[in-house]
């Protein structure tokens, strides 16, 4: 019997494609954000409110993933920015090859921001690098404030947690402080923003956060 050391990532092919995408985007200063959450946390609504706040000349595009239907792409296309739907036909996550294929035909040199809405799932999408600069996890207050403890991978790998649907706080037993504490017990440095897509509360902070990340992406793409 012989033991052979392999020391290879199981998803090495996905990681190879993701890294190539990341390098393409980084060279152009394009910010790519991969948004992950449970189904129904308000990802699409957050994207709608985000897109409606951009000036028409903003160079933003969206890739949205779902197991079935192009409902989300149709909702998001109303704002006039390029949108592509990935229908995974059963797969519970997006992978780098799906994203690469969805970008075909787009002039990436004319893009400053690519928002990716992953399939609603807090587990599987965390395993797949899509070539993003940052993952963002969205947690709505209609879920449990212990979700960071139950699904630590999504919170450990995300740069930002958006606590969404805060307008519903009077009606649900969601402890904001516990949610913050739980998220930071998994990822001490995670940024946290509170939003309501219904009232608009916190959306200015969210947009400001994206703007700061966009400026960072541009700064990194320029030789010093």
């Amino acid at each position: 019997m012989e033991r052979v050391a392999i020391e290879k990532k199981v998803l090495s092919e996905n990681d190879r494609i993701a890294q190539a995408l990341r390098e393409r985007f980084a060279a152009r200063g394009t910010l790519v954000l991969n948004c992950i959450s449970s189904p129904g946390s308000g990802k699409t609504s957050l994207f709608e409110r985000t897109l409606e706040g951009f000036a028409p000349e903003t160079r933003v595009a969206v890739v949205t993933g779902d197991i079935q239907t192009d409902n989300d792409a149709r909702r998001l296309a109303r704002f006039g920015f390029p949108v592509r739907q990935i229908t995974t036909a059963g797969a519970c996550h997006l992978d780098a090859r799906m994203v690469e294929k969805s970008l075909e035909g787009w002039d990436l040199t004319k893009l400053d921001l690519l928002l990716i809405e992953n399939v609603g799932n807090l587990v599987c999408p965390t395993s797949y690098d899509l070539g993003e600069q940052s993952k963002i996890v969205i947690l709505s207050v209609t879920e449990g404030d212990d979700k960071p403890l139950k699904y630590p991978g999504a919170f450990a790998k995300s740069r930002l947690m958006v606590l969404n649907k805060i307008d519903l706080l009077p009606y649900v037993p969601f402890d904001m402080e516990a949610a913050r504490r739980n998220a930071r017990s998994i990822h001490p440095g995670i940024d946290i923003i509170e939003t309501s897509c219904t009232t608009g509360n916190g959306l200015d902070v969210w947009r400001q956060w994206i703007g700061e990340r966009m400026r960072e992406a541009v700064a990194r793409s320029r030789p010093t």
């Binding site: 019997m1 052979v4 050391a5 392999i6 599987c124 965390t126 395993s127 991978g153 450990a156 790998k157």
Partner: protein
């Protein structure tokens, strides 16, 4: 249920390694899986069993090194026998 896709990637990697060692067969594969890798270990074990069953890789033992608070999802080693 992305464990089936992950199991497929493991099998693919095993076959590549076996092809590099003609005249041998794989008897055991060692995986390193972090708590935060987003993988259900029992589900992955089941998927690997299903994919291997009645193929030239059957039987293939599985050794999982589970890492608390880790994000690893690696193939660590393969045991080959003549």
């Amino acid at each position: 249920m992305h464990e089936m896709g992950i199991a497929g990637s493991v099998i693919e990697a095993v076959r590549v390694e076996v092809a590099r060692h003609p005249g041998t067969r794989a008897s055991k594969v060692g995986l390193r899986i972090g708590e935060w890798a987003g993988v259900d270990v029992e589900s992955l074990r089941f998927c690997l069993e299903v994919l291997v069953k009645d193929t030239d890789l059957d039987p293939l033992a599985l050794d999982i090194d589970f890492r608390p608070q880790g994000s690893e999802l690696d193939i660590a080693y393969l045991e080959l026998e003549d």
